[in-house]
C-alpha cells in the first residue's frame, strides 16, 4: 500500500498539479478516498502546520498547500464510500467581531471538514448577535471562534455571554483559537476547548463530541 510520499511532498510544496496526479494514481492503485485523505492530505497539512509554527515557512506557502489540499479533496469527493460521508458533527465557525484575519480560521475549517465535520463558515467580523442567530438556525454541535487581535479577544467572551443569555450555551460546545489565545484564556471565559493549530483543533473537536 502506498505511503503517499509523493502526494505528501506535493501538498507540502503547494504543487497542485503534481498532487492531483499523485492522488489520481493512488486511486487507480486501489487506495480508498478516505485513506488518501487521511494518510496523504491531512498528514501532509499537519506537517505544513508544524513547519509554520516553527517559522520554517510563511503564510503564502501555507495558503498554497491549503489550496492544493482543497483541489485534491474535490477530486476525491465522488469516491468516498457512503459510511465515510456521514458527518461527525456540525461546526459553526467564524472570526469574531472587529477582526478580519481569516487565514487561520479557514485552515481550521478545512481540516475539520477533511476530518468529516460539516462546516458553516460565517466569515469575519461576526458579531455575538449573528453567532446567536446562526446557532438557532444551524443547531451546531460546536461553535468555533477565531481571534488574531488582542483587542478582539474580548469579543469571544461577549459571544459566549450572548449564547448564555439566549439560552443556547448548553446546546453547543464552544472551541476557541487564534495566535494570541491561550488555554488559560479559554478557561477564563468558560469556553469548552482551545486548540493552538488546525491539526489539534480536529482532535479537540472530536474529543468534545466523544468521537474518535
Amino acid at each position: 500500500m502506498s505511503d503517499f510520499k509523493a502526494l505528501s511532498e506535493a501538498v507540502n510544496k503547494g504543487d497542485t498539479k503534481t498532487a492531483l496526479v499523485e492522488a489520481q494514481k493512488a486511486l487507480d492503485a486501489g487506495s480508498s478516498a478516505e485513506e488518501i485523505l487521511n494518510k496523504g492530505l491531512i498528514t501532509a497539512m499537519n506537517e505544513v502546520g508544524d513547519k509554520f509554527s516553527k517559522g520554517l515557512l510563511f503564510v503564502p506557502q501555507m495558503l498554497r498547500s491549503a489550496k492544493t489540499m482543497q483541489e485534491c479533496t474535490k477530486l476525491l469527493q465522488p469516491f468516498f464510500q457512503e459510511g465515510d460521508v456521514l458527518s461527525k458533527g456540525k461546526v459553526l465557525i467564524g472570526t469574531v467581531k472587529g477582526d478580519l484575519h481569516d487565514i487561520g480560521k479557514n485552515l481550521v475549517s478545512m481540516m475539520l471538514e477533511g476530518a468529516g465535520f460539516t462546516i458553516t463558515d460565517m466569515g469575519v467580523d461576526v458579531s455575538p448577535e449573528k453567532f446567536v442567530e446562526k446557532t438557532r438556525e444551524v443547531k451546531p454541535d460546536i461553535i468555533a471562534l477565531s481571534a488574531l487581535l488582542s483587542t478582539t479577544m474580548p469579543a469571544m467572551a461577549q459571544t459566549i455571554e450572548a449564547l448564555q443569555k439566549a439560552g443556547l450555551r448548553d446546546k453547543a460546545k464552544v472551541m476557541i483559537g487564534g495566535a494570541p489565545v491561550t488555554e488559560k484564556y479559554a478557561q477564563q471565559i468558560n469556553a469548552d476547548s482551545y486548540a493552538s493549530d488546525a491539526g489539534s483543533a480536529v482532535n479537540k473537536a472530536k474529543a468534545l463530541l466523544g468521537i474518535s
Binding site: G55, F58, K97, V124, D125, L149, T182
Partner: protein
C-alpha cells in the same frame, strides 16, 4: 556600548522603529540626558515569536547594565503585558502603534466607524515591499484577494514629520483595490505618555 559606560540611572526606551520619527521629533534625547534609545526593526512584526526573542535579548542586555526600561510597543506578540510584568519593565499603554500615535479615544472611534480598515503609517508605506508585499506575495492577485478581500479602506495615519507619502499611499490603495483616507496625528499623546514615564512617576 562598552562595559565601562556608566549606565546607572539610565532609562532605556526599547521601541519599535515605527516610533523613530516621533521620538526624534520630540527631541527626547535633548530633554532627558539620562536616556538611551534602542530601536528594533519593524519587520519583526511578521514573526511575533522572533520579536519576543529580540526584545528579550535587549531587555537582558539593558538590565545587565542596571538600566530601567520602557517598552514602546503595542500588543505585538501574545501576552506582551505579562512579559513586561515578569521582567519588571514598563510597557507604554496601548494595543497598537496607531493607537499610541492617535490617542486611544480617537483610535477607538475610528475602528468603531468601519471594521474594514487597514492602517498605514510612515514606516509601513515606505517599507511596504519589505514588510507586506514580499512576505505575503501580494504581487500575486490571488494572494492579494485572500489577504485583503474583507478590507474597504487604507487609513494613513500621517505624522507631522512625514515626507509627502500621499502619492505612494495612493498607489498602494490602487494596488489593493481600496480607498485611501488620511488622518493627521500630532505627537501630543505619545509625548504626554512618554514624558510621564520618563519623569519616573511610574517607577
Amino acid at each position: 556600548m562598552t562595559t565601562s559606560d556608566k549606565t546607572e540611572g539610565i532609562t532605556n526606551i526599547i521601541a519599535c522603529a515605527v516610533f523613530m520619527l516621533a521620538i526624534e521629533h520630540l527631541q527626547l534625547k535633548k530633554k532627558y540626558h539620562n536616556m538611551r534609545l534602542t530601536y528594533l526593526p519593524a519587520r519583526l512584526h511578521l514573526k511575533p515569536a522572533e520579536l519576543k526573542k529580540c526584545l528579550q535579548r535587549e531587555v537582558s542586555r539593558a538590565q545587565a547594565k542596571g538600566e530601567r526600561i520602557i517598552c514602546l510597543y503595542g500588543e505585538c506578540f501574545p501576552d506582551i503585558d505579562g512579559f513586561c510584568k515578569r521582567h519588571r519593565i514598563i510597557k507604554v499603554p496601548g494595543s497598537y502603534c496607531y493607537e499610541m500615535l492617535l490617542g486611544s479615544e480617537r483610535f477607538k472611534q475610528l475602528i468603531d466607524e468601519t471594521t474594514g480598515t487597514y492602517f498605514l503609517e510612515e514606516g509601513l508605506i515606505i517599507n511596504f515591499e519589505d514588510f507586506c508585499m514580499g512576505p505575503l506575495e501580494l504581487q500575486d492577485e490571488e494572494m492579494r484577494r485572500q489577504c485583503f478581500e474583507h478590507y474597504k479602506k487604507l487609513l494613513y495615519i500621517r505624522q507631522p514629520s512625514d515626507k509627502n507619502l500621499v502619492p505612494r499611499a495612493n498607489e498602494l490603495a490602487q494596488l489593493l483595490g481600496l480607498s485611501l483616507e488620511i488622518q493627521d496625528a500630532d505627537y501630543s499623546h505619545i509625548e504626554k505618555t512618554l514624558t510621564e514615564l520618563l519623569k519616573g512617576d511610574a517607577w
